[in-house]
Amino acid sequence: MITDVAELERIAVVNEDGLGDIMEVSMGPHHPSTHGVFRMDVRLEGERVVRLKPVFGYLHRNHEKIAEHGAYLSAIPYTDRLDYLCSMTNNWGYVLAVEKLAGIAVPERAEYIRVIVAELTRFQNHAGLVGFLLQDMGASGTPLMYAFREREKVLDLFESLSGARMMCNYMRFGGVRVDCSPAWLTETRQLVGRLPGFVDEFENLLRANEILMARTQGTGVLPRELAVNAGVTGPMLRASGVNYDIRKVDKYGIYDRFSFRVPMGEHGDVYDRYMMRILEMRESVKILEQALRDIPAGPVMDAKARLRGLRPKAGEAYGRIESPKGELGFYLISDGSGNPYRYRVRPPSMINLTILEDMCLGENIADTVIILGSVDIVLGEVDR
């Protein structure tokens, strides 16, 4: 592996004069490992990557413009479609920003329900990601099916709560749309009780597998300083050894009431990023157990909150949460009218791609696939 950038540049320049064997490969947009419509323009010397430019925008529908044309309320179902695996956390990011902008309070019970659905979302996202990552590595089928079996149970809970498996459209400014029933809580408690067993099984499946370790350890290393400077967030950042979890830093909602740890990696390679997801699933289960134990009775919507015809005072607000993929933020500017003057999503998936090239330089072409897999992107959010 060549780590010296000057050396790589020298190779690239020499070969542009036609003196060497540089091959340009366009990976995608329809490539099974790209998790959607995503392309990488790769230059190879032999099998080694000397340049890599991500190309995206195939799914761009100008989400921000659509939201600026509608009322504050009407943007919520659109946020479901950003990162379509995590609609609950997308809802939360947006309503949190609106609550900051308009100064809306949230009742206790709604805060607990938000934490419960958000941690279930994180669990199923991480399970899915690990499944896909192992699939990319050649562990065909089994891990992914294990992950999807578990994910389906979570989606069943979402469906009985909100009416939809994936496009939940569940949260509102000032609370959540409908209360959960005692039966739903019982079912959720039962499921959460079974989750640690699933993580054990899932982890034991391949954690110490020799092929997996050989392919992932030392591959796609992201140094700590670069990760901070490039605004990488979420499990990817923590895999590089930076202790930054917005649930701990901002303590939004009621996250200060739960005891949980922030797992951290040391090497910042693909293996650390894979382990980070496994460890975060365990922490999510801890939070879920506490939230399900402590959830109080009460209303789930703030009585004073207005949904239709919300007109926040002129001003701006940035609200952010720790979504399963990283820092999901919404930046809103109000001009006093019924729709946002400016509506901006901070998409963690897209910003985490900034350093994709840095992680892939000098690696084998086959490894770009698992490096991309370990970033955890969803194109609905990258392209918006």
């Binding site: 902008l101 002129a314 900034t354 392209d383």
Partner: protein, 202 residues
Amino acid sequence: MPLPSPENIKAQIEAGVPGASVTVIANGSPSGQHSLLLDHAHARAVAEFLRDDAELRLDYCSLVTGVDWPDSEVTEKVKVKKLVAGPDGAESEKEVEEVRKTKVPGYLEAVYHLFSMEKKHGPAILRLRTANRADGTHLPSLTPVWRSAEFQEREAFDLYGIVFDGHPDLRRILMWDGFVDYPMRKDYVPPEDDILVTGVKA
């Protein structure tokens, strides 16, 4: 440790970067997130100062975005003294109401939200404004200071037409190469959708 107030940060910048002009822009929302408007010439130096200052350590640039503020017309009624001819033909001075229209030129704005991963505080918000919306849409790029601005400045270039001088790779990012307009601007008119129109006509 909480972040110092915007006025405090302004004072620190002015002490740390000689010649920099910083204006605090108040925010009327309950969020209370005020921002700092920077001048173009010192923007890069101010950004480096904010990133490296031992107390502030704003090492993490979370969000970069464009905002469009189109040209606007302010209408105001002004009372003016004028010579008015009376019914008898004699001119006398009277107070008359007049409607005056003043054009306020628009601009594009780039907004940067900064946090500190080391000190765990933020956000500090920076704003840069272009001269106008037509030929003067250049701003200094802050990508050399925070790598996280790379794709987001490209996006602001793509959708708003802000040209970031000093950006290493300023190309369209979401729209395709060869697309000519800037779709997020407020006065953007979407082209007629061929597919839908054909469907109606046929």
